[in-house]
């Protein structure tokens, strides 16, 4: 089987699993397209520079200072300096993940830096970027790659926050995000 076909099957499996747990999945060819997509999403969500309307973006490898400047200019209210107060007051959080798991629709992140966790726990919408090349088949394959001596906090995220604690009725968005948008980016390098 050629590598392209195989990777497209892995992607389809990931998409199916992630959508099954109420995540939304987009795939783009380049980082540039990913940024454009996110800008339009942030506009759509009504992100602006006032309380309760911020977006917070955790430090991530795919964007440097020039991109940050551009993004800040394009979306007033988008903050790269993430504090707990801002994150608690934000509509949207954006972060980059290190791996994705095809057979469960899971995202995996080295999350020692607290801003990475703040943007994916406190806002109502979490937008997660991940390299298409970082798709792995399953849980054992990622556990074999991660080193707990180097990273002391690993986050696994599978769909938005959920509960079924009242009458077993599945309800999305308890303490964490109500929505999870996953953007797979084809030209991104694997971060780990």
């Amino acid at each position: 089987m050629n590598a392209i076909l195989e990777s497209s099957q892995v992607f389809e499996s990931f998409r199916t699993r992630a959508e099954a747990v109420s995540a939304q999945v987009e795939r783009v060819a380049t980082s540039e397209l990913a940024l454009e997509l996110i800008i339009s999403k942030l506009h759509l969500e009504g992100v602006r520079d006032e309380a309760h309307c911020y977006a917070v973006w955790a430090e991530c490898p795919m964007i440097g200072t020039p991109e940050k400047k551009r993004l800040e200019a394009a979306v007033p209210g988008l903050k790269f300096d993430v504090t707990r107060e801002l994150a608690a007051d934000a509509k949207v959080g954006v972060s980059q993940m290190d791996w994705a798991l095809a057979n469960t629709g899971t995202l995996v992140q080295r999350a020692d830096e607290v801003d990475r966790r703040l943007v994916s726990t406190l806002p109502l919408l979490h937008i997660a970027l991940v390299a298409t090349a970082a798709l792995l088949p399953d849980l054992p394959s990622v556990l074999a790659r991660i080193d707990p001596a180097k990273s002391k906090y690993f986050s696994f995220i599978t769909g938005p926050s959920r509960t079924a604690d009242i009458e077993r009725v599945l309800t999305i968005g308890v303490h964490g995000p109500e929505r999870l948008l996953i953007v797979l980016v084809d030209d991104l390098e694997v971060t780990a």
Partner: protein, 710 residues
């Protein structure tokens, strides 16, 4: 059984919200779990988990030490203690030292086990549960009724009332709104708490890591926002290697909530920076509370393989009727009974262990491969040893073991129930034929037992012989089943003899914890059955077959009569259940089906022992299909019928609704015939259908098969 306990059962059964919610869930769970495990080799997975956990519990001291060293090397503070009080003191002192006024907690059964909240609250600290279910029961002043879904016993109306009364007026019973309300109210608690307390699902010795699994995301907040994080971890959560996480994490969500993976998993291996740049203060408390002692118990060590998925609760026919609170305040259901006996006291399990009907559902689904029913029997045995056998029970066993006397008494009782019932004797008779249950008719006790009737049957002289083990029900209540067995075997050229010395199979004694009696039953039967020169030893009662094949050995072993084990094993090898033997004879061409049998639809009830111990459930279905019949499967065909031997007499309140559900499932198939391989189930279900004036015919497979052969 104390009145108080009986009353708690009756209260639970009378609560339609509880039985409705749990009943619906159990159906959804069964389907959901099967789907979640699609494409997964469950047996291989649980073998792996059992091996990992068993190896860990063989070396708790070593692993706890390794965990401590690895974690401390990363900057985690580790506290190890056997004493629950020391855990509470440690946390309180830490909180007071750091000036903590509010604690945000994510779900932890270990803290429930030691009643941590009460201790901290008494000292004036505000403790906030943040798992939605835990928060609801905290507000309501209740205890969890389920390990995974603590508030499953409450309706949305009750939740709305609790929120309105305790938090803010005017909450409506609308689930999404209630969840939103909880989010809004708990968010400031996360942000203002100075300390977070969590449990852990796995603790890895070689790396000093803890793994926390949640769906709501509260554990991520509890471990991220407060500057101090304390994790309370029972020793049984230890595994040796980092890679050991995988199989447990693959199984846990599937078994717990039928999910492929929970929304969130955090693997924490040391302190990380706080939001103000300072380093997190991370404490891990490794709590023993008798777990180490348990690991040295040859029988109960196995229970430490539990990964706390609660699937044993979800598949239990009794749990879905009575819910968790009947079991106690902390751990509930099958595994909860065992944990209560250890973490609280053996005595505390005295009543709740009697709730187990021994159907074996939980054993089949346990991802830790724990034989929960067997461990509950072991509790029963130890309780019987500790408390002594009640006099009435001794008297009963002396009757049961004298077959002729037993038959006479049963016959007398069935004719003139009243005087016996008044004496309070018949209701204590193990197994059967008491009229204490009103929801089923009872078979008449045969005036001539099978052991005498077989002498009247004219059998062909054959070179092959089979010894028939009757068991009480076929011998005394359903001799017709025995006659069918003889008829079928005769057709295959096998002569059937009935060894006179056979006695009770010992199941009633075993299931009451009276192992000495059960072992003696076994010894008497071994002598009687091995005394005959036969080619097969056949039984048409799965409980008896299991006794002959497995329990005789176990009973003798448990009372130390090891010199009799070789004979018990010889017997076990020769024993075969009726349908399996019949199927072999068909395969060999020694039994032939009649031509032109009118095709008929039937449904089949899987008897617990027949399916889950003998694994013979497909055999009768196949036999009847070969005969030209068509099987129409009922819902939950392998769910217990509620008989459970003397269970139906000791706990008729529970047995009756279990039977009721079974009858409804049978009737929904719309077929005219129900086949069963167990005379006990025939008695229970047949009696139930008769009370409902149903037209559905109930027969033992042997009876129908006898009519279908040339």
């Amino acid at each position: 059984m104390k009145q108080e306990f009986k009353q708690s059962i009756l209260d639970a059964l009378a609560n339609p919200n509880l039985t409705g919610a749990l009943g619906n869930f159990s159906v959804a769970y069964r389907a959901g779990r099967a789907k979640a495990y699609e494409g997964v080799d469950f047996e291989a997975l649980r073998d792996q988990i059992a091996e990992i956990k068993s190896s860990a519990s063989s070396q708790f001291d070593v692993l706890a030490e390794r965990f401590s060293q690895a974690a401390e090397a990363q900057g985690t503070k580790v506290f190890r203690t056997n004493d629950p009080q020391a855990v509470k003191d440690y946390i309180l002192r830490l909180a007071q030292d750091r000036g903590v006024k509010r604690i945000a907690k994510s779900k932890s059964m270990a803290t429930e086990e030691i009643h941590l909240n009460k201790h901290l609250e008494k000292a004036g600290i505000d403790v906030q549960e943040t798992d939605l279910g835990e928060w609801i029961i905290q507000l309501a002043g209740q205890t969890p009724s389920h390990m995974v879904m603590p508030a499953i016993h409450m309706t949305k109306e009750e939740v709305a009332d609790v929120f309105s009364n305790k938090v803010e007026d005017g909450q409506k019973p609308d689930i999404p709104k209630l969840v939103k309300f909880a989010r809004g109210k708990l968010r400031p608690m996360f942000l203002s708490a100075e300390m977070g307390i969590s449990g852990a699902n796995i603790a890895v010795a070689e790396t000093g890591s803890i793994v926390i699994v949640t769906n709501e995301g509260n554990a991520r907040l509890v471990t991220t926002l407060p500057k101090i994080h304390v994790a309370i971890v029972g020793l049984e959560k230890l595994v040796e290697h980092f890679q050991d996480i995988a199989p447990i994490l693959i199984a846990l969500p599937k078994s717990a909530t039928a999910q492929l993976l929970t929304s969130y998993v955090s693997i924490i291996s040391g302190p990380v920076p706080n939001t103000d740049g300072s380093a997190k203060e991370l404490h891990v408390i490794l709590m023993d509370n008798r777990r180490n002692e348990m690991s040295h118990d040859p029988r109960f060590k196995q229970a430490l393989q539990c990964i706390r998925c609660a699937s044993c609760l979800n598949v239990c026919p009794v749990f879905r009727l009575v819910g968790g609170h009947v079991f106690g305040k902390v751990y509930t259901g099958g595994i909860g009974t065992i944990l209560t006996a250890w973490f609280s006291a053996l005595k505390e399990s005295d009543e709740i262990q009697s709730l187990c009907i021994q159907c074996g559902n939980c054993k089949d689904v346990c991802p830790g491969k724990i034989d929960i029913p067997d461990l509950i029997l072991e509790l029963r045995r130890r309780l019987a040893v500790e408390q002594g056998q009640p006099l009435i029970q001794k008297a009963i066993f002396s009757v049961v073991n004298n077959r002729r006397l037993f038959h006479t008494m049963m016959r007398a009782a069935s004719i003139g129930q009243k005087p016996f019932a008044k004496q309070g004797f018949i209701r204590h008779l193990p197994l059967f034929l008491s009229n204490m249950t009103e929801n089923r008719s009872l078979p008449a006790i045969a005036d001539v037992p099978f052991r005498d009737r077989i002498k009247q049957i004219e059998q062909p002289k054959c070179t092959e012989k089979a010894a028939f083990y009757g068991g009480c029900l076929i011998d005394f209540a359903y001799p017709g089943m025995g006659e069918s067995v003889v008829k079928v075997l005769n057709k295959a050229g096998i002569e059937v003899i009935f060894p006179e010395g056979q006695t009770c199979c010992g199941a009633p004694a075993r299931y009451s914890g009276a192992y000495e009696v059960a072992a003696q039953n076994g010894a008497d039967n071994i002598k009687a059955l091995l005394g005959e020169d036969v080619d097969y030893i056949v039984s048409a009662c799965p409980t008896c077959t299991v006794a002959l094949k497995h329990d005789f050995i176990a009973n003798l072993e448990s009372v130390g009569r090891t010199e009799e084990l070789p004979a018990a094993r010889r017997l076990a090898e020769k024993v075969v259940d009726f349908s399996t033997l019949a199927s072999q004879l068909v395969e060999q061409g020694r039994l032939k089906f009649k031509a032109g049998i009118e095709p008929m639809k039937f449904t089949y009830h899987d008897s617990c022992h027949f399916k889950r111990t003998l694994h013979a459930d497909q055999t009768p279905r196949k036999l009847m299909k070969q005969a030209g019949y068509e099987v129409v499967e009922m819902e939950e065909a392998d769910m217990c019928c509620g008989m459970g031997g003397s269970y139906s007499i000791k706990l008729p309140e529970i047995s009756a609704p279990i039977l009721e559900r079974k009858l409804v499932n049978i009737e929904k198939t719309g077929v005219p015939l129900l086949l069963i391989d167990c005379p006990g189930c025939v008695m229970q279900i047949g009696g139930g259908l008769d009370k409902r004036a149903s037209n559905i015919k109930v027969e033992h497979t042997a009876q129908r098969l006898a009519e279908c052969l040339e």
